[in-house]
């Protein structure tokens, strides 16, 4: 029966060893922290897609940890040609230039096509429906102006410690960007 600390030799020796190890750990940890703090990013970062590197592989729709991906298509209106035959909107060789699902690229009908004036049409993305599959982006990049592109939406993204899509992105397009510039846009627009 004892309270531990007051007994004889081995306990004291162990106490001493423990203290030594603790001091060593603290010193080592201090050096490590010094090294790290020197190059820490006080700002913090978030994940984003570089639209110039994206090759529209389709992984964005399927690899995010969220069941509906945090990646969505955005539209740089200032780059858009307002084409009547939008290759982002229509399937290649559509039956008809109307909103019928069989004619459209988008699997979830997330793109709205509205008449502006002959022969111009405006295309807007319904972000609630977009799943980030990049089908329209591919179409727009192949034959159009490339005004449709993918971005991680930060209202949805959990900013995972390591983005699950980044590891499988065929274009190696993901990177950490400073939190105060969270988007990599193709053009400045409203």
């Amino acid at each position: 029966m004892s309270t531990g600390a007051s007994s004889g030799g081995p306990v004291n020796r162990r106490h001493f060893l423990r203290q030594g190890a603790r001091t060593a750990a603290l010193a080592g940890g201090g050096v490590l922290l010094g090294l790290l703090v020197g190059r820490t990013s006080a700002r913090g970062t978030v994940w984003q897609i570089d639209p110039q590197k994206c090759v529209r592989c389709g992984n964005c729709a399927t690899s995010c940890v969220l069941k509906q991906s945090a990646v969505k298509c955005v539209h740089a209106f200032s780059m858009c040609g307002y084409c009547q035959l939008c290759t982002g909107y229509f399937e290649p060789a559509p039956n008809d230039l109307n909103t019928g699902a069989e004619n459209c690229q988008c699997p979830t009908a997330a793109i709205r096509r509205t008449y502006v004036e002959d022969p111009y049409y405006e295309y807007t993305i319904d972000e609630r429906l977009c799943i980030g599959c990049a089908k329209c982006v591919e179409g727009c990049n192949q034959f159009g102006n490339g005004s449709l592109f993918l971005q991680i939406r930060h209202d949805r993204c959990l900013n995972c410690n390591e983005c699950a899509i980044a590891k499988v992105c065929a274009g190696d397009a993901f990177r950490r960007v400073p939190v105060n510039q969270p988007y990599l846009l193709k053009a400045i627009s409203h």
């Binding site: 029966m1 531990g4 423990r18 603790r22 790290l36 592989c57 410690n161 390591e162």
Partner: protein, 400 residues
């Protein structure tokens, strides 16, 4: 086009502050209040805040990878929160044991709260499995330092539960661990958690320790089987019977001599393993695909992600190969060290099993105890302290 901003940067500091406060509260509950009930409340808070609200990201368990990557990759800077989430719990553990595990870690809290009927894990199995966290830690550091992937995050069983979303395999393994955790106390903490491994080492040398009894251990043995996590230790004399002395000495010498061999064997095996491990790195993988498909015509029609990646390599063959060679070189170094680490871990475990300790009381192991405060309730002295029972006058004649 709408561009909603990310969670503001100051939240990093808020998270770190919540962590520091929770750690302080845990210390107070363990050592001053000695209150299991308080720790349950803290666990529920942590589970809700760090788990379901912050969705398990950022977390201490994964932070070691951020640190490893920041040390070896000049292009990457660890965020403030990652450093705080790593350093604070370790610093606390160095002085006062695993207060972080007691009720701050959402993973620990989740497993602690669902425990219904703990079964005892056989000692040989417990000892054997307890080297896994150290190996997992080594693997996590290896793959983070080489910039490959954060395996500790990728294979985290509970984060998919916090997010209520994730890869099917990980959701299933999370559920499986939870079911297991109803009967085996904290299976992830004891047999997998890499941060737990660090805290265990820190706890082993801690200044203050968790004690079952508030004052004197009367050797009543009531707490002997109280710990659901296999952390309770019984008194030991530290001296073997004279007859066993030579054989025990021999066994210890053997362990001491074999350990360096284990380390060398590990390093050798690690180097052999390097090309395989490096294939997990996207650059190395791509270079391999590129070389394997050289001379074949480019695919036409609808391209798969793999085809598109290959196309990227074909546009830049030199760059692809150089990047891959660089990573491979790092892996040669990394896997050698990792192999040596595995050897060291196994050797150290072996040696520790051969060492004799002097222990006069029933007390929790400094490293294994997660400071859950369950065993306190078993101690009659503790019950006296709380006024649940009144102290019994000892009979005047004590028999020896």
């Amino acid at each position: 086009m709408t561009t909603p901003g990310p969670r503001a940067a100051y939240w990093e500091y808020v998270d770190s502050l919540v962590l520091a406060t929770a750690l302080g509260t845990a210390l107070w509950l363990i050592y001053t209040r000695r209150s299991r009930r308080g720790l349950i409340a803290l666990s529920i808070f942590s589970l809700i805040y760090f788990g379901f609200y912050r969705k398990g990201c950022i977390c201490s368990i994964g932070s070691v990878q951020n640190l490893a990557m920041a040390l070896f990759d000049n292009g990457y800077a660890a965020p403030v929160s990652a450093i705080a989430f790593f350093a604070l719990p370790v610093a606390v553990a160095l002085f006062s044991g695993r207060a972080f595990c007691s009720g701050v870690c959402p993973h620990g809290a989740l497993q602690d709260l669902i425990l219904v009927k703990p079964l005892k894990v056989p000692t040989w199995l417990e000892q054997g499995l307890s080297v896994l966290p150290f190996i997992y830690l080594g693997a996590g550091v290896l793959f983070a330092a080489t910039g490959t992937t954060f395996i500790i995050c990728q294979y985290d069983p509970f984060v998919p539960i916090f997010r209520m979303s994730g890869r099917t395999f990980m959701v299933l393994s999370g559920v499986a661990l939870l079911v297991l955790g109803m009967f085996v106390g904290r299976p992830y903490c004891r047999f997998l958690c890499p941060f737990g491994a660090i805290l265990k080492l820190a706890g082993t040398v801690s200044a203050r320790r968790v004690r079952v009894t508030p004052d004197l251990c009367t050797q009543c043995r009531l707490c002997e089987a109280s710990c659901p996590f296999g952390a309770m230790r019984t008194p030991e004399t530290g001296r073997p019977a004279p007859r066993d002395l030579p054989s025990e000495r021999r066994q210890l010498t053997l362990a001491l001599m074999v350990t360096p061999l284990l380390i060398f064997a590990g390093a050798w095996g690690g180097l052999k393993f390097s090309p395989t491990a490096a294939m997990l790195h996207p650059s190395v993988n791509l270079a391999h695909e590129f070389l394997a498909n050289q001379g074949k015509p480019a695919p036409t029609g609808a391209l798969s992600p793999a085809d598109l990646e290959l196309q990227r390599a074909r546009q830049n063959p030199r760059e692809t190969l150089v990047a891959s060679a660089k990573v491979q070189h790092r892996f040669d170094m990394g896997t050698t060290l990792f192999g040596a680490w595995i050897g060291l871990v196994i050797g150290a475990k072996w040696i520790s099993l051969r060492l004799r300790r002097t222990r006069t009381d029933y007390e929790p192991d400094r490293g294994d105890c997660v400071a859950c405060a369950r065993c306190f309730d078993y101690c009659p002295n503790e019950l006296v302290r709380r006024g649940v029972i009144s102290p019994v006058k000892e009979p005047a004649t004590t028999t020896l």
